[in-house]
């Protein structure tokens, strides 16, 4: 498209910088997506920031759960910088995104996506912070609320009042499940993986008669690992179950995690927890899991998980988080067997046992003892403070990116 030389240069700089920033903020971008973004800009010739917003969003995102990060980065880069109608033909120099003034935000920036409330913490970051490691790691609102309720932080959920639990659930929902990516380190890591040619690999795989797509996908893609949360909601877990449901909901929405609950049998809740209102999600979850607060069958449920989901790829290379007190008396042997199978598929198994903190806790009885050898991280998670450990454990396990190791699992 002719006649807009300056603007075109401006675009290509911004496109490159914006893509990088988005990538480091946790929205993985393949080179083909950036190319697509650039092509869409030249086809659509956006003249307003709103138009640019939508072109960027439909070309760069791959899922609804990335919208929040996207909005934050978009606002940071584009707000106050440009209105393309004005910038056309002017010798406007494109500032690299790192030094982009971010203080000014268009008044409608948050409304644009139709979901405003939660992105405030991220969008308000000042430009100087945008390259530091711990950007946005702490939501000031959440922290303030937490300090108000400091006394609650250490209290075992089991001894909290209903009001306290309600407050805790709200806090849990807002806690960042995974520490935000570290910009510097991440960029370095990704630079090596970027040059690989998908098509070439496809053809090569063809020649070996393997499953080409499988190979390409497993080899190539570097991203945070899938998180699968499986929570015990049997009677003995009653005081904790609701709190964890809120944690799961946060994880489903922010991370695209998979969520399951069980007492005597497994129920998948990913979809129910994906709906918008927390109370509605909670009620749906209870309705979807008919054996809420019944007895426990850990071994059988884990086996069911493996058979129905785990082997079909859901557990492969994933971070599995099991929340359970491990009170299984019927068949601890089955628990051990299932855990062994799970550990072969999963990347990392976190077991959260809220009863671990209790004085009477005996790890050596029943299902818990059988599971112990296969657990990578064992934590209590019985209080708000302890939940931070849970998040950190998930974060540590997911942020580790080891694309090469996973290729060994592909059979050619």
């Amino acid at each position: 498209m002719g006649g807009r030389g300056v603007a075109d240069n401006l675009f290509s700089d911004i496109v490159a910088g914006f893509g990088q920033l988005l990538h480091s903020a946790g929205v993985p971008l393949a080179p083909e997506q950036s190319v697509r973004f650039a092509r869409a800009i030249s086809a659509a010739q956006p003249e307003t920031v709103d138009e640019l917003y939508w072109i960027a969003r439909v070309t760069l995102l791959t899922g609804h759960n990335q919208t929040e990060i996207f909005d934050a980065v978009f606002n940071q880069v584009f707000m106050g910088l440009i209105d393309f109608a004005d910038s056309r033909g002017q010798s406007m120099h494109a500032a690299p995104p790192e030094s982009t003034p971010a203080g000014e935000r268009s008044p409608n920036a948050d409304e644009r996506s139709g979901q405003s409330s939660t992105s405030n913490n991220v969008t308000s970051a000042t430009p100087g912070e945008s390259n530091t490691d711990d950007q946005n790691s702490e939501d000031p609102q959440v922290l303030a609320a937490v300090s108000d309720t400091e006394r609650l932080a250490e209290k075992d959920f089991a001894s909290c009042t209903e009001d306290e639990l309600a407050l805790i659930r709200r806090l849990v929902e807002q806690l960042p499940v995974v520490p935000p990516p570290r910009v510097g380190r991440r960029m370095k890591r990704h630079s090596s993986g970027r040059k690989i040619d998908i098509r070439a690999t496809l053809r090569r795989a063809h020649r070996y008669g393997g499953d080409p797509v499988d190979m390409v996908m497993r080899k190539r893609i570097q991203r945070p690992r899938r998180v699968v949360l499986i929570a015990d909601v049997s009677g003995s877990m009653e005081p904790y179950a609701r709190v964890y449901l809120h944690l799961m909901r946060g994880a489903v929405q922010a991370l695209g995690a998979e969520a399951f609950v069980f007492a005597t049998r497994l129920t998948r809740l990913t979809r129910a927890l994906g709906v918008t209102h927390p109370d509605v999600a909670y009620r749906k979850a209870v309705a979807a899991a008919p054996d809420w607060s019944g007895g426990t069958r850990i071994g059988q449920t884990l086996t069911q998980f493996l058979n129905e989901y785990g082997r079909r790829g859901l557990a492969r290379g994933a971070v599995i988080v099991i929340v359970s007190d491990g009170w299984e008396v019927d068949s601890p042997g089955l628990v051990g067997e299932a855990m062994e199978r799970l550990s072969r598929l999963a990347h990392h198994i976190v077991w959260v046992n809220p009863r671990k903190a209790a004085e009477s806790f005996q790890p050596l009885v029943g299902g818990m003892a059988a599971a112990m050898p296969y657990i990578d991280t064992f934590i209590s998670g019985h209080s708000l403070r302890a939940l931070e450990e849970v998040m950190a454990a998930i974060g540590n396990a997911t942020n580790r990116i080891t694309p090469v190791a996973t290729t060994t699992k592909v059979s050619v």
Binding site: I55, G63, R220, V280, K284
Partner: protein, 294 residues
Amino acid sequence: MSITEHIPTIGALTEQLATHDYLVDPGLASALFCAVRLPQPLLLEGEAGVGKTQAAKALASLLDTPLIRLQCFEGIDASEALYEWNYPRQLLGIRVAEAQGTHLAEDSLFSRDFLIERPLLQALEHPGPNPAVLLIDEVDRADEEFEAFLFEMLAESSVTVPELGTLKAVISPIVILTSNRTRDLHDALKRRCLYHWIDYPDLAHATAIVRLRVPLAPKDLVEQVTQAVQRLRGLDVQKPPGVAEAIDWVHAAMLLGVGRLDGAAVEQTLGSVLKYREDQDVARTQGLAWVAGE
């Protein structure tokens, strides 16, 4: 007219879709524009009844091109999606040849004459002038293996039939995939696609859509219904009503001669907006007058 001339801008696409009875907001307009103009497959997600399927239909009708639909289901495989050999016809061919005392060579037995084209092949072979619109509906229902197969087809715009070799698209189809998110699609497939999440329309947009679909409905009734639908969505129902249900509801109300939505009118027409008995009970417990906004 080339596609570029036909759809020069996002604004032009928006207007043309409206003349084909489909109202889009800027987000969906941008997504469909990119799908057509780049061109690039587009993955549409959103709750039931927000207009995912209709998007593909409207696009096909404005391009005056066939809509080729592949409805995915668990266990779908290449023979359902791509092509199948017409065994009865092949058998017949063999018998005829035998009766004539001749012999049918294997090559001619596996020639185009005996091939049944399924949606994917139909879309690839569509001769133009405009590309066909290929709707791959509810792709999340298919298993991962089929997804991998789709990925390959989308990447190369071609498919390989062992007996015939590689068949390349005459004109690459415009591809729209929809998912109801019952499971996560593979990242490679997602990255191959543009992405758009269709939200429930806001009140004004919903009202405009319903009025377009039910032109004879009184304006007040339409507004009451779209507001009531929003209220119902806030309840703990299994199937929150979408645009489709709002349209059905207005239809039902008009059929019964209801001009204004009140508790009694809701009672009469509830089944048209909440299809499950349990969901209707939830609404009743909440109060039908409340649903009607009284």
